[in-house]
């Protein structure tokens, strides 16, 4: 996995698999603190303390060769390579929060990459889940709430072609204007 946005796509799949109704994805880039933080918070079924302990322990024996249990360990590895870490909190029946912290300017920090595709796909692939997406770069912020979109759209599903095409452009425009003058200069 070479981009933080791919990790995000992957970590959110866990929330989808846990039957979350609302998934909050937040990216905060703070150059002054030299920190990049990714938070994925869901209201899904949560994990028992035992499961929580197991997933934090990377590459538990027997898992390596199987196609399971790689998502969180890979994220943890990516964060720790930059002097950061991953924090997990979860409560059965309540939900789960995954927070990954990265050293912003660390040479090994993966680029955020194609976050537009990640958010677009998460939204259009999960018609029954709502997303609250927030991307902050220093003092600038972009927020997208699918509940608000649905309210305007009435009964038109988010995965309608016209909506999907609109959403892709909307995300592209807003992400690129976040990047412009992100150091506060006009």
């Amino acid at each position: 996995m070479e981009e933080l946005s791919l990790h995000i796509l992957d970590i959110v799949q866990n929330s989808v698999a846990a039957d979350a109704k609302l998934i909050e994805v937040e990216i905060t880039e703070d150059t002054a603190k030299d920190k990049l933080t990714v938070t994925v918070k869901d209201d899904g079924r949560g994990m028992s303390e035992e499961t929580l302990r197991k997933v934090t322990d990377p590459f538990t024996t027997g898992r390596k060769t199987r196609c399971v249990g790689l998502g969180i360990p890979l994220l943890k590895l990516a964060a720790e390579l930059t002097g950061g870490r991953v924090e997990l909190s979860s409560e059965l029946g309540k939900g789960t929060t995954v927070t990954a912290m990265f050293g912003y300017s660390h040479i090994d920090r993966q680029p955020l990459g194609d976050i537009v595709s990640t958010i677009h796909q998460l939204i259009v692939m999960n018609e029954n889940t709502d997303f609250l997406y927030t991307h902050r770069i220093n003092s600038k912020v972009f927020t997208l709430d699918t509940r608000q979109m649905r309210e305007i759209l009435g009964g038109v599903p988010l995965n309608t072609h016209e909506v999907m095409v609109w959403l892709l452009e909307y995300l592209k425009e807003n992400e690129s204007s976040l990047l412009k003058n992100c150091d506060g200069k006009e």
Binding site: V16, C67, H161, E173
Partner: protein, 122 residues
Amino acid sequence: MKSLAELQEIRNRTLNNIIMRKEDGQGVRVVVGMATCGIAAGARPVMSAFVEELAKRNLSNVTVTQMGCIGACRLEPIVEIIAPNEEKVTYVKMTPEKAARVVAEHIVNKQVVTEYTIGAAE
């Protein structure tokens, strides 16, 4: 700049079609493997290619969804095409280019692209 208000226009334009789509019964489903193995192998650009091709051809009866790992990680990205009254077809080692061909040949022309299927890979 695009604004959320444009969704209102989309709503007015599409609501009638949506009702028709529902009455059409279920269409074709494109299911992309989105577990860690799939994503690491390149599922995201494959999914983007399907969404783009389907929108370009206005195939509004086709939906794109995701699935977990089906235990063939080395063959990812894996895509299943599920059409009513047809046997499920599993495509492996997909790329955006292959996705465009699957849309044109399989979904539009109903011709399975045999060389990309799991049967051909094994």
